[in-house]
């Protein structure tokens, strides 16, 4: 694996593609712009002051794809055969998902064109909506798939959450390595992690109302209201990787994991 845009001396150079075989290339990129729900509603109803937001952002994305070589220093100018920009309004996350597909028969890939198209479409969405919402946030701009060419096909894995969570920070849970501040190491796993938006957190041992799981839950809830979710639905817990319950006693340095009912096999 090497960086093709660097020559033998490590200097930037444009790759000579004259001898590469022509093939059909396609790349799909995506991105997202989050906004206030009211902004999304205005956008959906076409009531924003600058007019048709999505149509404008679509044209901006297409133009950007065609001009990628003017923006990204070592990109070639490409005769794109297709540029398509799609928008999906996602109410649950209050965001607009943007995706761009670029295609050509040629000697170099089109992923930079697709990524540029998504980026500029998102920037245009920002520009079109900024009069009513300055908190908008652009993110998750990434390549989804790429076909054709020597390096082979690429497809982003469907997975967005970590494959394996909950790996112990300490080789032996229950053995406190950090003697400075006595605390309890708490983990939220799987669906609970996503629901509460918390993965790992440490809590000083003396914050516990009582030295057991019930006391830990109360201390967590007092610290952050989200942890009230620990008492909603069926939430299991393990202390030092052994199943426990509300009455399980805790000592300094313990590892406590909260998780939903298991669904393996």
């Amino acid at each position: 694996m090497s960086l093709t845009h660097l020559n033998a001396r490590g200097e930037a150079h444009m790759v000579d593609v004259a001898d590469k075989a022509e093939s059909r290339r396609e790349a799909v990129a995506s991105g997202r712009i989050r906004m206030h729900p009211e902004t999304l509603a205005l956008l959906a109803d076409g009531e924003l002051p600058k007019g048709d937001v999505l149509a404008t952002a679509r044209i901006a994305g297409i133009q950007a794809a065609k001009r990628t070589h003017e923006l990204i220093p070592l990109c070639h100018a490409l005769p794109l055969s297709k540029v398509a920009i799609e928008f999906r309004l996602d109410e649950p996350t209050s965001s607009v998902e943007v995706s761009a597909t670029c295609r050509l028969n040629g000697r170099t890939g089109v992923e930079m064109e697709a990524l540029t198209a998504v980026s500029v479409a998102c920037l245009t969405l920002y520009d079109m909506c900024k009069a009513v919402d300055k908190d908008m946030e652009i993110g998750e701009i990434r390549l989804e798939s790429k076909t054709g060419g020597k390096s082979g096909d690429y497809r982003r894995q469907a997975m967005s959450s970590p494959i394996v969570t909950g790996a112990s920070r300490h080789a032996d849970p229950g053995l406190a390595l950090d003697t400075a501040a006595p605390c309890i190491h708490i983990k939220c796993l799987a669906e609970l992690r996503e629901r509460l938006g918390v993965s790992d957190i440490d809590l000083p041992f003396d914050a516990l109302e009582s030295a057991d799981i019930a006391g830990l839950k109360a201390a967590l809830t007092a610290k952050d209201a989200r942890f009230a979710g620990l008492n909603e639905g069926r939430v299991l817990c393990a202390v030092n990787q052994v199943m426990g319950g509300d009455q399980t006693p805790l000592t300094d340095g313990d590892e406590v994991a909260f998780f939903p009912p298991v669904t393996g096999g």
Binding site: A158, P162, I163, T165, G166, L189, P261, V262, G264, G265
Partner: protein, 153 residues
């Protein structure tokens, strides 16, 4: 032998390894669990399996130990995969060897029932209509409870 891994496994190779050099084994039962393309929703396109590293191995060891205490077993292999899987992919393998078939059949059944209700694995299904975490099933708990009753009688 217990393994938690992302890679696929080969049922034949695992069974062979369990039987290698043994002539006292009279029965070997193996169970392979696969990813279905339908579950709570149709058109499952992928499955992500998450686990609690460390606790998973301990829980699986405890289940196998429990099985060894209930039946005269001569060998157990238990492999569970984690990570991203596609429909048709094998997820879990249990191979149980014993002198006689009844013990092997029952122990294999028992290990799967306990694994489904006690080992910290979580499945997230990816479908055309979105991703969701799989919910627990009461039938799995009923299946596991059979062994409590059988043991207490």
């Amino acid at each position: 032998m217990i393994r938690v891994q992302q890679e696929a496994f080969d049922v034949g190779v695992e069974q062979q390894a369990l039987l290698q050099g043994r002539s006292d084994i009279g029965a070997v039962v193996s169970f392979t669990g696969l990813v279905r393309d339908f579950n709570e929703r149709p058109e499952v396109t992928a499955l992500t399996l998450e686990h609690y590293a460390g606790m998973t191995e301990k829980a699986l060891e405890a289940i196998v130990e429990d099985a060894c205490g209930r039946w005269p077993l001569q060998g157990v292999r238990l492999i569970h995969r984690v990570g991203c899987l596609a429909p048709g992919d094998p997820i879990v393998l249990v191979v149980v060897a014993s002198a006689h078939r009844r013990a092997a059949f029952e122990a294999c059944d028992f290990i799967m029932d306990y694994l489904k209700t006690r080992a910290p694995f979580w499945k997230k299904e990816h479908t055309a209509s979105g991703n969701y975490w799989v919910a627990e099933r009461s039938s799995d708990h009923q299946d596991a409870a059979r062994w409590e009753e059988a043991w207490n009688n």
